[in-house]
Symmetry: C2
Subunit: 235 residues, 2 copies
């Protein structure tokens, strides 16, 4: 049974230039002002697919708002979410000829789409852009390795702690200790190699231990960052 049901519609592509949407979210972006002129904006509705595993990789994307998940499926529907992408993140940069994951919107999202042929042409003139994209891929690989250690060797509590801190660090909320969780419990489970119920119970667990506070299913607060960080590192 397939868990993920997609509304088959792809995001509607507007032809508008992306400049307005591209205020620099990350430091590196300032180096890449050239990119802004090349992108076009895409709106993606909750649960619709940006691209699927195996599709020809014609575009790179950058997330402006909302969240995207990249996932792989087994034949019988078991799913793994390889990563969540938040505002400012690039997605699809690691593709060779085809995408190695399916990408779907976690909630309604806005992205900028860059044609690969444009970028590849740009790289020839501006090696800095090439180095930047390479650095993104290397960083993702390094992250992936941390994630493998987590999946192979850490307990549910430890997984959840490291997940929360990672999300907290990336979704730069005005309040450092408030963590927005746009995804469902089942998404989190499929990312951490746990079932929904275990994610719930473990949240309850961390709450009872006084490490976090569950404001709502989609927002929680860090109460003891130290303790959480210790857990996340397996100490």
């Amino acid at each position: 049974m397939l868990r993920a049901e997609h509304r088959s519609a792809r995001g509607s592509v507007s032809a508008a230039p992306a400049v307005a949407a591209m205020e620099p979210v990350q430091a590196e972006d300032t180096e890449l002002g050239i990119l802004d002129r090349l992108g076009s904006v895409i709106l993606l509705r909750r649960d619709s697919a940006l691209f699927r595993e195996g599709d020809a990789a014609n575009c790179y994307y950058k997330i402006v708002s909302g969240a995207v998940r990249s996932c792989k499926l087994l034949a019988d529907g078991r799913r793994h979410i390889t990563d969540f992408f938040l505002a400012g993140d690039f997605i699809g940069v690691d593709a060779l000829k085809t995408y190695s994951c399916t990408a779907e919107a976690v909630n309604d999202a806005t992205l900028v789409c860059y044609e690969r042929r444009d970028i590849d042409a740009l790289i020839l003139r501006s090696p800095r852009v090439g180095r930047f994209l390479l650095s993104r891929v290397c960083a993702e690989l390094s992250e992936a390795r941390c994630r493998m250690l987590m999946l192979g060797r850490m307990s549910a509590r430890e997984r959840l702690a490291s997940f929360l801190l990672r999300i907290a660090a990336r979704s730069r909320h005005q309040d450092r200790d408030t963590i927005p969780l746009p995804m469902t419990r089942s998404d989190i489970g499929d990312h951490l190699g746990l079932r929904t119920e275990t994610v719930c119970r473990t949240f309850a667990d961390l709450k009872n231990a006084g490490l976090i506070e569950v404001a709502s299913p989609h927002e929680l607060r860090v109460l003891q960052r130290q303790a959480l960080a210790a857990l996340a590192q397996g100490v």
Copy 2:
């Protein structure tokens, strides 16, 4: 308790040019003849470290013979082997400033070492080399994602099946169905997120099911490739 004990000695570096050791093992290599002139040969004894997580990344390496494991450790000694590298594989190409994993020899190994500054200079003149290295990193990332799916969602039998087929495909043995396993059961366990005992039992399991034959602890044979492949894909 730390599982991995290293003899502290690094591999001894010989100053000899690498040409002799560099007969092309993979198709892509022929494109990279230029590289051959730049490398120097390294001999690495079993269990000694090539580099450690956090070391400044000054070199790329290519394995000529033997096997190397790349691993990450938690403070309390829990270990994950992110990958095994066999003859023909490149290692360290994904590093940014520092290596994100420790690399150790599984058995006595021969590698070629390329100074990064040499390669980086070469890339400016020959973008083909750059593209090749980028493609290696992307392929590794794609592999890593498959591995995450495996660690998060597959049973011990399925993990072992997919591991065996992957090793079989990469270590091009004259006999397609004979799989050399240079690493220990504990190495395999740390790669698959299982304990040594479970690896043993699962081997026994696959043997009883008639899927494989265990010639010796370090060599086994595939009897039913189809069935093994089905397991590996989670069908």
